[in-house]
Symmetry: C2
Subunit: 576 residues, 2 copies
């Protein structure tokens, strides 16, 4: 039924047919995600809600803005992308997130939390200014409701003076269970849902901001959703409405229903590699035993960052503040100001939210916060909004910040040990998982690099991070077979640079390799360092374009940051 379905056909279906459509969507989503990876339980929870939205509203004329985008699969299936759905998250395939380039039904790209209400207000305002007539709907999970952006948008609803429908999809979860007072408040609203008057009284917060509040309803009840949305649609001409619905994360797939956190994101492929997050968790526990200054802070992803056990063991020294990356950063800075040793663990892409606080709160005060930056470098199938390829650039420009990039999980552990007594801001960036250990392991000394291969050839390859060193080592081996002996240097610290080592390379050309954008990155630091000399430096890094979805190796090949490109370059220029 789902195949080739048009919006017009959907609108003419009976309830029974629509329910069958829901089941089919659920099957397609489950089968596809189990094959390709992706967001499963969040998408299974919103099937009925999405079908009801399509039944009641007129997309793409009406605009549906997602928050984060972990709930958009049914929407993709209903808007002409069934045929290509099997390419979900694959290179060249359809995105796991809303994407304007992909369909006119995707009106606004998202990926990071809390943006949908602001975007819906902007779209609504644009509609009013242009004198057009359509509905704007923001679909927001309760996890995003912790984010300050939601509040900023709420605060300006009356100012902006436009009408939107905000559907609060309350499943009690971010990736982890939702935390905080707003969550407790939403629970009170749920508990009082049956007692209209009491519920109304509690709902006053939303009314303060200018919304009419309507809730709580079962978002998995298709008939009820159609009824409610039809009713609200009529009122959107004159008011903004919050529709509070409760859905079951993982709905219809009992394994997901029972394990919503574990099945929030499904990884594709086998995992024989060591997760850096595992090392983070174990090492921090170990260090915290001996040092009671150590505290850990996360923003709604404790488990995927490897810190669940730490949180259990040290509840008083660990804080998951929900999707509040800026607040988390300041908490760390202020605890450091009072003599504690805070570790803020976060994915590279979400650290972007804390840029100003890293500059002002952590670095301008020179406070000993350690940023543990997971999923750095190309992260793969999530695409543009989730690649961790900017951090070396936006961090290396900040004074007082030391940046470390371990060559493997063991060196990561050494960096963590090093961090304990390091009395200034420190960032350690690493990918999700590591393949193997690389060479000897010596104690970390601030700003000192490590020469892994000494070659008498013309080129010294300076690389940071496991992926890049792996690639350099394999190039060295291949080149060695042709008699070309390159040196390979592990740039454990991106900042400060090992100037002694760099100066000792005066006879050599330099090649840099990094899992980051070219501009502002590690290679660029070397280009600046040598700007006044005639040094020839070749930078392998990602060119100045957003990086779409695909596997890590597919994307690195496409961007020509791989062993073959390195070998080719050296051979071509060996006689230069």
């Amino acid at each position: 039924m789902l195949e080739n379905i048009t919006v017009a056909q959907l609108k003419s279906m009976t309830l029974k047919e629509l329910l069958a459509l829901c089941e089919e969507a659920r099957e397609v989503i489950t089968a596809t995600v189990l094959k390709n990876g992706g967001h499963l339980s969040s998408n299974l929870g919103t099937v009925e809600l999405t079908v009801a939205l399509y039944y009641v509203f007129d997309f793409p004329k009406d605009k549906l803005v997602f928050d984060v985008g972990h709930q958009c699969y049914t929407h993709k299936l209903l808007s002409g992308r069934y045929d290509r759905f099997e390419t979900l998250r694959q290179k060249g395939g359809i995105s796991g997130f809303p994407k304007r380039e992909e369909s006119e039904y995707d009106c606004y790209n998202v990926g990071h939390a809390g943006t949908s209400v602001s975007a819906a207000l902007g779209i609504g305002k644009a509609r009013d200014i242009k004198g057009e007539d359509y509905n704007v709907i923001a679909l927001v999970g309760d996890g995003s409701f912790n984010n300050g952006l939601i509040y900023e948008a709420f605060n300006s609803l009356r100012l902006i003076n436009t009408n939107i429908l905000l559907i609060l999809n309350d499943n009690g979860m971010s990736i982890a269970p939702t935390v905080g007072s707003m969550h407790e408040y939403l629970e009170i609203l749920c508990e009082t849902a049956e007692r209209k008057e009491k519920n109304d009284r509690h709902a006053k917060i939303f009314e303060r901001f200018g919304f009419r509040y309507d809730g709580v309803y079962d978002g998995n009840n298709l008939e009820k959703m159609i009824e409610k949305l039809s009713e609200i649609k009529e009122s959107l001409k004159r008011e903004s409405v919050i529709l509070h619905v409760v859905t079951k994360k993982g709905k219809g797939y009992s394994f997901c229903e029972d394990n919503p956190e574990a099945t929030h994101g499904i990884s594709h492929g086998n995992n024989v590699e060591t997760e850096y997050s595992e090392i983070l968790g174990k090492t921090l526990i170990n260090l915290a035993e001996k040092d009671n200054r150590i505290v850990a802070v996360t923003a709604a992803m404790t488990s995927s960052l490897g810190l669940s056990e730490f949180f259990e063991k040290y509840p008083n020294r660990s804080m998951d503040v929900g999707i509040c990356e800026e607040h988390a950063t300041i908490l760390c800075a202020s605890m450091a100001a009072e003599g504690l040793k805070p570790y803020y663990a976060v994915y590279s892409t979400f650290l972007q939210r804390s840029f100003d606080e890293i500059v002002i709160d952590i670095c301008s005060q020179n406070l000993p916060v350690t940023l543990c930056i997971d999923r750095a470098g190309i992260s793969g199938a999530d695409g543009e909004t989730h690649q961790g390829v900017f951090d070396l650039s936006f961090l290396s420009m900040i004074p007082n910040l030391t940046i470390a990039v371990p060559k493997d999980v063991k060196e990561f552990e050494e960096f963590l040990r090093f961090s304990v007594d390091y009395s200034a801001p420190l960032a350690i960036r690493y990918p999700r998982s590591g393949k193997k250990l690389l060479g000897e392991h010596s104690a970390v000394i601030l700003g000192k690099w490590e020469t892994l291969v000494r070659g008498d050839g013309k080129y010294a390859v300076i690389a940071c991070g496991e992926r890049m060193l792996d690639l350099a080592m394999s190039a060295a081996e291949k080149l060695g077979q042709s008699g070309v002996k390159i040196s390979v240097i592990n740039a454990r610290f991106v900042k400060p640079l090992d100037e002694d080592l760099l100066n000792s390379l005066s006879e050599k050309h330099i090649i840099t390799l990094e899992d980051n954008m070219l501009l502002g990155g590690f290679g660029a630091l070397l280009d600046v360092y040598f700007s006044e000399s005639e040094k020839i430096i070749k930078n392998f890094a990602y060119t100045d374009k957003f990086i779409s979805q695909g596997s890590v190796s597919e994307l690195m090949d496409e961007l020509e940051v791989n062993s073959e490109a390195l070998v080719d370059y050296v051979i071509k220029n060996e006689n230069r």
Copy 2:
């Protein structure tokens, strides 16, 4: 009385003496700010409140965290800085903001809005973890209450499980009058203050988050403040409290009371220069007359950005959303997604808050938002937290973004005209004011630079922005007198680079000049561009340190980015 006053002395004073102390503080602040520049009306409003805090609490054992820091002058006078207060905001003098390096009474540095509650929670939590015993107080203006960070901190109060006192200093103003629903809500609390029961009912929002709310009181009534703070101090062992006080911005100085926005910040020195903000306002009005897609967005500083008249003329196409920089950025992106042409005007330093939204919402969607970045480069007396010296670095690393730096106010106007039909993200950065027009003015062509001086010498100086070109032109003149003929090129676009022009300079050494950090900045882009060649490039830019307060020229001299340094370099290397 204020001279050499100790905290112990203050605590033994009678009310009458304390009131006299307040008047003395007010006089010192007014006299100093009128001489040195600084924040006047906000500081005059909080004299009594600060004296009461010192009377009741035990600083520096107790911790006082400011928000933004525009209210800290009395605190500085009371904590041993009376003697040096005349050096306020001067090079080497005391800072206009709280600064840990300056005094143990300054427990946390601030400058950007909304951070104080997070910081107070972190400090409170650190106290609890260390098993220590002191009080933590956050002093927040109502303008900051719009910022999402406040909400994120509120949301986690119970989670973090520590007790703080939050003093909400409500003067109805950010720099501009406070806007938004939270402001309206605070007004309701003020209006119902006399009717306890009604006020209690309205105060429920704060109680949801775990605070006891106590308000509204006259923050300029010293006796009342002492009474209230003494009472609350006792309860801080068992709960967190919001104390809501109303103060009069500019209190005690009638000119300020009547002109709170104009006297929020007092500029030091005479102003014969043209303000870029004036050009922005005039030109946008002009353009908007012919193009109804144009909308303007600000975050609480409409007037200082030059947009008051635009806002009056086009109320439906202009939005001041309060201190909500992230939200403002997404509003622009989403309106652009619907075909409008949004201009987001903002100070360089506050744009840092929008970094993630510039990357994800504007640039990854390639939407035609124009960022009008005022106070770029060294901004002077406000010091570390307000220098606009990072923007070229954090912007140039973002794909799809074009960056323009006008050489003078007339070229700024041309860039604004250029922007209207430019269909991709554009950033235009400029200092507060300009001295003069520089050479001819030709139409702007994307990515094309302009040669201002053609010299047959060895050096081509490529500079961006008025300050740097001014410096280059005067160096060219001086060098010309010694027979050294340098070329001077106006790099109107920092991105994209004018590759044709760069390639035409193959016989020359290059010198870059920019009002920005060295790392990741304009010069670094050239270093990367020429990395594989033997090109010699000298970058004049700011070294990798935070830049303290001082006048623009003092700081540029200290950082050795000035005409003399440029002349010296060329002469020294002319025969290289």
